[in-house]
Subunit: 340 residues, 2 copies
DNA sequence: GTGAAAGCGCTAACAT
DNA sequence: ATGTTAGCGCTTTCAC
């Protein structure tokens, strides 16, 4: 209990000297090695606590080859969904003695590539990542040369077998689209990111299926699948809704897209739930408070975060890789009415 | 350019052998040491690129005593304000060759204390932190024993001289309160976190000053300064607004508080901007899109993040510590009308 | 059960 | 200008 006020840099050597034992004995006590006498344990622990010794994790990392650091690479932590994922993930990792290095790829493939390089050089034990583009050839190289455990968030890379936490967007989007179709919509706009990621492909499957159910094809001219950022959504929502014919309903995939689209609609003067039906894929905190209330396809970000951590720990412990599917839930609210 | 497909674990030794030179020569080339002949540089660089050698940052850290890692400790990364700060900060750090380890303290002083311990054991070069409680005795100990550079976010710890990025909440809150008082309000509720942090104290100064200007004292019974979390705000907004006499106006400090308060108001059935005047301190993205439009005191989170990184780098480079004040801006919107 | 010694990958004297 | 060597703090054989 009695700790030095200023612990300059107490090493295992200081402890060994203080306790009058060998370095290796201190190491054994610290690591809970079974071959340690009670007397030894007591002496060492006394020295440790009076000196306030704390093992140097850098030295341990170099020696053991394990840093107990997990990299976390996402587009943008200021996206509330990722923030919730990151938080839950960090807490789980922390509980198991791991720390998280956070990097924002900024939806930029080169930045992401550099992120992976730094992770590699930092010898992280694993990386949890939501890739910018599954198909980019450099990504495959990054993942392989990383030489660490990998858990992907809503991504699948062809030719590489990794663990992943996937979301069943299909189901939620299917229900949402069906809901709109049942209300009489056939001209449904869709604004989101590129099909080079699982997220969009899986959502489009649900979207197309709902149209297929009524024997229709989707109208490609109502699709804007070029970016998850708010700017893209703003511009393309603007375009879509000011062209003729214009969609009577609109879906936006991702929190930033939703934001950008709502800004555009406000600027144009189209009222959601009245002048057009609107469904958001992924929920923004506050959706419950403000009006209009937004219909949305929800997924639990905290579960995604916690599960990604568990899967990472499982790979590290037993080498077991697997995929996990998180369910989605469509909730109809005010915004998906109107428009006809 | 020609890289090996599988770079098992190329060390500086492999490079030295391949190039037929000494380890130290390779090291000199890698670090850009001036005493290197062109021939040597060429030979080493050839070996480096054919082998795909990348220096091990763990080994470098152990040797140099610098990890080029900055810790970032905040209550909760899923708070959009912190997320924006973290993102800008991470990007600036990255640009200068530093990585960020993220930890959520969860508004828990013991978790925070453990966070600092891990940071210490990981030998981070610095920590950027928004402390849970400036006054807690353990905090001082954490900061001192950290033995690293420190930049505080909106915090000041008595007896310890650190760099800090502070916000001029005073001005914004003063203006907001004056705005409410000018409209005829005298019963103004205030829901936010404890005065054990600079943020709240500084806000309360502005709040009191505006009352002082008209020769009045604030009514303590309208204050609820017990927590930044949404739950606290929900409960206490509920209490405040269902008691007699009830405030005719309400201010909430912090994004989560605002969320909790708005939920409570919705549940009670009080309409912001009509049944009561409402001002939020700190802006939530989306405030511009939804209705009612929320009056708020804004601060630029990105600037806070970028500046905190700059200040950290400055301490590391030249040891210079300083305080920086970020300005705030009050914007009156629909929500701060009504209530009388 | 305990100690001595090698070495993880790197850099910085110190020598030449 | 280049090579040799010690050592950052730790763990892990290997002896005893």
């Amino acid at each position: 209990m009695s700790e030095e006020t200023f612990t300059g840099k107490i090493t295992i050597r200081d402890v060994a000297v203080r306790a009058g034992v060998a370095l290796s004995s201190v190491s054994r006590v610290m690591s809970g090695h079974p071959d340690v006498s009670l007397a030894m344990r007591a002496r060492v622990e006394e020295a440790v606590s009076t000196l306030g010794y704390e093992p140097d994790l850098i030295a341990q990392s170099l020696r053991s080859g394990s840093t107990r650091i997990i990299g976390f690479i996402i587009r943008d932590i200021s996206n509330p969904l990722y923030a919730l994922v990151a938080r839950a993930c960090e807490q789980e990792l922390q509980r198991h003695g791991y720390s998280m290095i956070l990097m924002n790829s900024d939806a930029n493939i080169e930045t992401e590539s550099k992120n992976f390089q730094i992770m590699r050089r930092r010898r992280v034990d694993g990386v949890i990542a939501s890739l910018v583009d599954e198909g980019d050839p450099s990504v495959k190289k990054s993942l392989i040369s990383l030489n660490a455990a990998i858990v992907l968030l809503d991504r699948e890379v062809k030719g590489i077998h990794t663990s992943a936490v996937l979301t069943n967007h299909y189901q939620g989007v299917y229900e949402a689209t069906k809901h709109l179709i049942d209300a009489g919509h056939t001209k449904i706009g869709f604004v989101t990111g590129d099909e080079n990621v699982y997220t969009t492909r899986n959502r489009m499957r649900g979207f197309k299926q709902a149209f297929g159910d009524i024997g229709k094809e989707i109208d490609e001219s109502f699709l804007a699948l070029g970016g998850f950022d708010a700017e893209y959504a703003f511009v393309h929502t603007h375009n879509l809704m000011t062209s003729q014919p214009r969609p009577t309903a609109l879906m936006t995939g991702g929190i930033s897209s939703t934001w950008g689209a709502l800004r555009a609609l406000k600027e144009i003067g189209l009222k959601v739930g009245e002048d057009l039906a609107f469904v958001a894929l992924d929920e923004w905190p506050l959706f419950d408070i403000f009006s209009p209330e937004i219909s949305c396809v929800y997924r639990d970000a905290r579960t995604i975060g916690a599960e990604s951590a568990h899967m990472m720990l499982q790979i590290l412990k037993s080498g077991v890789q697997k995929k996990l599917i998180i369910e989605t839930k469509f909730t109809a609210r005010f915004s998906s009415g109107g428009g006809l």
